[in-house]
Symmetry: C2
Subunit: 235 residues, 2 copies
């Protein structure tokens, strides 16, 4: 029996990745005289991957990695004025109003009538708290966990705090790597709701013939979630 429904925030309840993509495109345009856009994209991914263990996730690390990459791929030709522009776009990303995904509000309200709800999200602590607060959904959640990494120990800790076994928990999110695989590994249920765009560092393969295949489903929209949970309870 599912007691706790855990939901991801970015690109599950509200739009996030497109804002990063747009910013990256604007930077590519800004630097187009000195830098080939494909090189910028490839090198930015490498820089973000290298910095992940120091910066973690979120806009601040993204902005720092953008500046580092812009300097290195332009062989230092990027101007301080251009860097100031990148810094400003980074601040604009942090100030971007929260825009809920279609169906998110209604689904969260319906789920909250029958389940204990938690929100599990990663990124900059300050920014995530701001987004949760301005989403208007905070009151529906029993607990909001803003975490540094979404791995099995993190999910085990959250389940422990809530006093439930992982097998009584379902995690819902857009990332196979962060929302699905670690939860299946712990013996929990996972629902993948793909989003239009996925950040390169979140790409992961899911093999569906391993253990846990019966605890996993992919849905086309968060709107299908109440129906799936009803089906699970009848199994």
């Amino acid at each position: 029996v599912i007691e706790v429904v855990a939901l991801d925030g970015d690109d599950t309840l509200w739009h996030s990745e497109p804002h990063f993509v747009v910013t990256q495109e604007r930077v590519a345009e800004l630097l187009s005289a000195d830098v080939d856009p494909d090189t910028l994209e490839r090198e930015l991914e490498a820089t973000e991957r290298r910095n992940l263990a120091l910066y973690g996730y979120g806009v601040k690390g993204f902005t720092l990695s953008l500046i580092e990459t812009a300097i290195s791929v332009s062989d230092g030709r990027v101007s301080s004025e251009q860097i100031a522009t990148v810094l400003r776009w980074g601040r604009e990303l942090l100030a971007q109003p929260v825009e809920l995904l279609d169906g998110a509000e209604e689904t969260v309200r319906r789920l909250s009538e029958e389940h204990r709800l938690v929100l599990i999200t990663k990124g900059d602590l300050f920014h995530q708290e701001t987004k949760v607060a301005s989403s208007g959904l905070a009151d529906r959640f029993e607990h909001v966990a803003i975490v540094a990494e979404k791995d099995p120990p993190t999910y085990a800790r959250v389940a422990d705090q809530l006093g439930v076994a992982p097998s009584a928990m379902v995690m819902v999110g857009n990332s196979v790597r962060s929302d699905v695989l670690p939860v299946l590994e712990l013996g929990g249920y996972a629902v993948h709701v793909p989003y239009a765009v996925t950040w390169a560092l979140e790409h992961a393969e899911l093999t569906l013939d391993g253990p846990g295949a019966d605890r996993y489903v992919q849905l086309g929209s968060i709107r299908e979630l109440p129906g799936y949970l009803a089906e699970l309870s009848r199994r």
Copy 2:
């Protein structure tokens, strides 16, 4: 009766602020041909204050504000090579090994024998988790709360999670603004252990004739904490 002893991390259990000060001095030296050090210091403080509501606390926001300030106070004369150096020093700050304050380890061990201990720290989530883990003290704490802001609602939430009244909790830290005033306001106890240097944005005045004066003490070292708690229990 004090049930829970809450401790701050940065500059209470381990050294932090001197690393920021040294980095700022290195940047002042790096930019000395273009920027007067006093102007840099004054403008950096103004930039950090302005960005606080977007960046929150921590090294990543500090690095972004340093770069923004370097560009503006040099009228754009700072080179991309110099900015790359500032980025590198920011990453070095994040990679800096944790160095415990004198007496911290022994005191935490002694306190853990008689009290429920929690660690309440603010800053970049990823960086704070890394520091807590590498401090070697994590096992002594029942709970580690990494928070975006240390205000009365935050302390009330932590107390609530622990199932104690604020009046049964003492907070120990180096910042009057973040560790002392909000806890006294909630009716809890606060111990101020000043550190050699205090970040400008943490400066605050403490008036000792208001309510809560009997719930506050300043100690010269964390080593005096067990004695103070013993005295409190005899009151």
